[in-house]
Symmetry: C2
Subunit: 162 residues, 2 copies
């Protein structure tokens, strides 16, 4: 049935939507689901669990990334496709950049998330503002010892990157 990319995309987006509905019904969190696929097989999936777990990082994409990485025993999602019912928020997009899948497919947009009260679009706008001027202000306190530690860590020949 999944004889081309378009029908494959819709197949897995439908599975993500199923998860979103399940999570919402269980009051686990917001109405979001995510499925991660490698070689036409689901290797990790999840729905938002922020309310149930009291974990603000438990968005559907983060939950699915953690499960898929545990499944692969790897911190990289090489050659994977990530299906999300809604455009990833900046946290989830950042998580996806660190996990490095091949591509992302999403159904609803950040504007649709904003329309039902979520901060995604707001956070996207905040990111571009100077850290000290944001609504969540970030203060830069330079520390010579922290800078020199980072630098010496970077100079190690044996360091592992991720």
């Amino acid at each position: 049935m999944k004889n081309n990319t378009r029908s494959q995309d819709l197949f897995y987006l439908n599975r993500a939507l199923e998860l979103a509905k399940k999570g919402a019904q269980q009051l686990a969190g917001g109405p979001f689901g995510c499925v991660i696929v490698k070689n036409d097989e689901i290797i990790g999936e999840g729905h938002n669990e922020v309310l149930g777990s009291h974990d603000p990082t438990a968005h559907a994409e983060v939950v699915a990334i953690r499960r898929a990485c545990a499944q692969l025993n790897d911190f990289q999602l090489s050659d994977c496709t990530v299906y999300a019912t809604c455009e990833p928020c900046p946290m989830c997009l950042g998580a996806l950049y660190w996990a490095r899948p091949a591509r992302i497919v999403y159904a609803c947009t950040r504007e649709e998330a904003a329309d039902i009260g979520f901060d995604d679009a707001f956070i996207y706008r905040e990111i571009d503002i100077d850290p000290a001027q944001r609504s969540l202000p970030a203060t830069h306190v330079p520390m010579e010892e922290a800078s020199s530690f980072m630098k010496s860590w970077g100079e190690q020949e044996s360091k592992s990157m991720y």
Copy 2:
């Protein structure tokens, strides 16, 4: 000793640096630490654990947020200050927006992270690019059923937000 904000900031940044050094020494992950403080008390802390846990989301800030929220039994970090040895990457900054602490204090910058090979500055630049044009491409596949589910979820009077 911690008789003003500046000395308090340096006190907790030093603790975060201690954690960063410990994590690096244990090869748990990159050279990053984080401490979350409420009412002059540490309620959650951690260092990067990406390598040890095979979890690309296990940055110091995310680890500390999850622990602090578990400690408070709440998905919000109201009135907390977050101390990080390095400017939060977009994933961690997004996580902080969802957790809503009062402020962030950091020592090293995203440029210092880039200098030792981390993608923070690169991801900050990518976020502003149209999703379909990014180096990690995101394809929008609109789905009427997903949009109408989000919308009807948003119309519930009893919905919990986070």
